[in-house]
Symmetry: C2
Amino acid sequence: MSLACETCAVRESAACSVLDHDEREALSKAGRTRELTRGEVLFAAGDEDAACATLVTGALKVCSYDEDGNERILALIHPSGFIGEMFAPFAAHDVVALTKSTLCVFAKADMQRALDDHPKLTRALLRRSQEDLYWARQLLALGSGRSATEQVGTFLLALAQAASDSPCHPSQRFELPLTRGEMASMLGLTIETVSRAMTTLEKQGAIRRHGARGIELVDPARLEGSV
Amino acid sequence: MSLACETCAVRESAACSVLDHDEREALSKAGRTRELTRGEVLFAAGDEDAACATLVTGALKVCSYDEDGNERILALIHPSGFIGEMFAPFAAHDVVALTKSTLCVFAKADMQRALDDHPKLTRALLRRSQEDLYWARQLLALGSGRSATEQVGTFLLALAQAASDSPCHPSQRFELPLTRGEMASMLGLTIETVSRAMTTLEKQGAIRRHGARGIELVDPARLEGSV
DNA sequence: CGACGCCTTGACTCAGGTCAAATAACGTGG
DNA sequence: CCACGTTATTTGACCTGAGTCAAGGCGTCG
């Protein structure tokens, strides 16, 4: 199936947005769309010749598992994000859908060719990769020094940011794309600790909860520096 | 000062190794070498127009600080590693020398131009960036589930790997490039905990210590799965 | 020799993990 | 729409691993 770039939700923001119309048209012939439902695995760690993909709608998680099978989430992918190591012989981590998602998938070899043909594209991916690196390091820094409640607070703020379409304002009310367990495994905490942290934040008046997933930011400033 | 690419220690492995002789010669005109001693700051977080650099000899750390001024090390840079966000308006983190180091430094604008001129170079940096991302995520995964002793053990193994010149065998005996405090801040632990973990590992017969920094791997297998 | 910085060790504390149970949200089929 | 089973979330009680505080050892450099 060919791709409908014209109606693509991330036409303006994905890596391929740096291509002009004809180039993009050519690239789209090599790709195909794919839909995933929550929990479906896009790539599994160790896959040889895993493909590459741009996320169009939905959300993905990148995760690894320790020897007891406990999941650790290493990154979230939001729309217009790119996944796939073009240079490694096999995938390093699992990539799994958090919600119903739409992707634009390319075989590794086709992507390699596209990189050769379009330096602009390579450059765009380099930029994206450096941003991913930045976020991975932010997540690393988040773990340090702070109490569990602070970590959860900061993380909620980051999710609010991501949930918002406007670039720098967090959305004031949003639905968590993650279960408690997933939040816990991003922060290296337990489900219970995350749950308690949310209760604490609500008692402090920093947030209000609406059902299990709905979050309203009441006092965002307090999220950064609490307890 | 111009660069002596001919005698460069990382001539074969750094990003610029993908350039042919003339291209490299041209690039070297834009760069200059710089020497750092332990503790010297290469870039500080927030620097506008921070440059880019390839590490030739020595070792660097990438770090951030929490509001109490505690350092958190986010990454180590080894020879032939590349540092510098070409696309961000300012540096995200501090980069500091761990040991006497030699670098090959380029102004951001010159590097941008080089990327435009040499798609090969962009590609090489993309590859490197993806590797950095992989290592950042490995460090993230290391924190999860494991006891302090396991973390230190795994980390020592990684350092042994890095200290070795051969690609896949850890060096059997090496000197730690990091103080206890720096190890602690990479793992999100305290100095005391790291020290106790090393004592435990030695008691278990996994390692032997030679002075404060010398490490001999006695039973590497035990480092991965201990206590 | 003395001072300073780094490392180790011990005693004590506490944040967060573990175990267990109650409650709330959700989906499914009748 | 409701009853029910399933899964996610919250809460409580208790325990432990790692942090904190404090002291002492070891090297190194001036």
